[in-house]
């Protein structure tokens, strides 16, 4: 089976590596940073305006891929909820000695709560590891796109991108 977003709906490792929106390994080492998984030239640029630090540029034409400027990105994560494609994440590789923090957009009910233990999934919704919900941001400006932060084992910071919704029930 062919890999790549056009065939699987999942950006491949090669696509992510070639994408100007993915932070470098060095930048990931330095602290929290946005991780933009937008690998197709679609006409869209709200991320550029969303960043208060000018760390994301799209320019003209608006089909350009968003470029992340790692030196300017503070890892604040305000871009996450502003991406109509829900394609921006935040990764804090060295959250603690043994864990990483991953933030992702989440538009399902029920929303998790801070402190919940949730099964975390990868880009195909496959279970990776349990995580602890560290934050659930859902400000008015998010317009319904909640941003959930989970603390996960360090080894899976590149994989975890969501909650395994079907496996998880807050009341279960």
């Amino acid at each position: 089976m062919k890999s790549g977003i056009k065939y699987t709906g999942i950006p491949s490792e090669e696509e992510l590596r070639a994408s100007p929106g993915a932070p470098s390994r060095e930048r990931l080492e330095q602290g929290p940073v946005a991780f933009i998984e937008c690998v197709q030239d679609i006409p869209c640029n709200p991320c550029e305006e969303a960043c208060p630090f000018g760390a994301i540029t799209v320019g003209e034409p608006i089909t350009n891929l968003p470029e992340l400027h790692g030196d300017k990105c503070t890892g604040c994560g305000v871009c996450i909820a502003q991406c109509p494609g829900l394609a921006i994440f935040k990764v804090h590789l060295h959250y603690t000695e043994t864990t990483s923090l991953v933030e992702f957009p989440y538009e399902y009910y029920p929303l998790p709560r801070k402190g919940d233990r949730v099964p975390c999934g990868d880009r195909q919704g496959k279970y990776v590891a349990d995580g602890r919900v560290v934050s659930v941001k859902n400000a008015k400006a998010h317009d319904g796109t909640a941003v959930v932060g989970v603390e996960v084992p360090k080894a899976c910071y590149l994989e975890v991108r969501t909650i395994c919704r079907k496996e998880w029930s807050r009341h279960g």
Partner: protein, 365 residues
């Protein structure tokens, strides 16, 4: 007889945008729609739109609908609802029905913004309750708040199929799979990625063989297709679903343009037969303009720009805007529209549109 300067048929994004531009220029405009509510498909678009700030990117579709309605109200645009248009006469009289009565409206210019209809897909069992257009399912969940089923198979990987699959899950349904006959995903990768993250498999080169069930869908049989689009024997799989959503494209609703005697071109990339139109969205029948999906199936963002273009052109033709001012406005709109028709997804539509406009201009020469 009732009179207006511009009659706009269809109160969707294209029609409302056209009406707003006419009214803004000081024109008298009447919008006529067969539905009980204005807004066309915008009120079921609960996702955030793409584009840039000028296209209201990042705003959810139904909020854009609310903004358009507020603007039409502020400008005093007349919107007639529950009023299907059934006739157009050469003198630009519009015939419609309201409350069981026939009413005639005489207009100087007409903008037809009738939209498009979902394509059906016939297969054994496709008449069983539970098989429906993806747009119908979207209307049920997002407008009427009714879940059409608990477990869904989505057919078609264009943006409609991908977005509605996602929204069905947001509404509480489970999507068993999405199948696509082509060898690659048709819509935006980011939309596909959302449903993949939710655990929905996407099967390319697959089609539906039949839906099974006694008096409603109880399961569906899918089958792989080879490189000649022929079913691969032995590859059949049964999925237990109670709903099958069909998202296999849209066809422009062109009846009124045919009735008016507009010349047509067949452009597969735009959804089939579409009226020829020039850079002002004017058809081959002087004074009759089109905007939105009737002129080629695209997205609401482009439909609004086409509506603005048609409305501005109407206002210019009526002498409400001088040539210089109109040109300035139209140039800005065209630039915004072209920005949406770039990149691998927009490029094909841009070329198809240019071809259509070229055909129209040839006819005039």
């Amino acid at each position: 007889m009732k009179m207006t300067q511009v009659a706009v048929i269809g109160a969707g994004p294209a029609g409302l945008a056209a009406a707003i531009e006419v009214a803004r220029a000081g024109g008298l405009v009447t919008v006529i729609d067969e539905n009980a509510r204005p807004g066309g498909q915008l009120f079921k678009q609960i996702h955030k739109f793409f584009g840039s700030r000028e296209h209201r990117a990042g705003v959810r579709g139904f909020h854009i609908g609310e903004q358009l309605l507020a603007e039409t109200e502020r400008l005093g645009v007349e919107v007639l609802l529950d009023s299907p248009v059934y006739a157009l006469f050469p003198d630009r009289t519009v015939g419609y029905v309201h409350g069981g009565r026939e009413i005639f409206l005489k207009a100087e210019k007409i903008v037809i913004a009738a939209g498009a209809a979902e394509n059906p897909l016939a297969f054994p069992g496709s008449t069983l309750p539970g098989v429906m257009g993806a747009g119908a399912a979207q209307t049920m969940i997002n407008v009427h708040r009714v879940l059409p089923g608990k477990k869904v198979l989505m057919i078609g990987s264009g943006n409609v199929g991908l977005i509605v699959a996602y929204q069905l899950m947001q509404a509480g349904a489970d999507v068993a799979a999405l199948i696509e006959a082509a060898t690659q995903i048709g819509g935006y990768g980011v939309h596909a990625a959302k449903i993949r993250r939710a655990g929905v498999p996407i099967h390319l080169s697959h089609t539906v063989k039949r839906a099974l069930g006694k008096d409603h869908v109880e399961s569906v049989e899918i089958v792989a297709l080879d490189s000649h689009w022929q079913p691969v024997a032995g590859s059949e799989k049964i999925l237990g679903v109670d709903t099958v959503c069909v998202a296999v494209g849209l066809t422009p609703l062109t009846e009124l343009a045919w009735l008016m005697g507009c010349e047509f071109a067949f452009v597969p990339g735009l959804g089939g037969h579409v009226p020829k139109h020039d850079l002002n969205m004017e058809t081959t029948v002087p004074g009759v303009f089109i905007a939105g999906d009737i002129s080629g199936v695209e997205e609401a963002s482009t439909a609004m720009e086409e509506g603005r273009l048609a409305g501005t052109a109407c206002a210019e033709a009526l002498g409400l805007l001088d040539g210089q001012k109109a040109l300035e406005l139209k140039t800005v709109i065209r630039e915004r529209m072209n920005a949406l028709r770039t990149g691998p997804f927009g490029e094909g539509r841009r070329r198809a549109k240019e071809c259509l406009i070229g055909l129209s201009l040839e006819g005039q020469a």
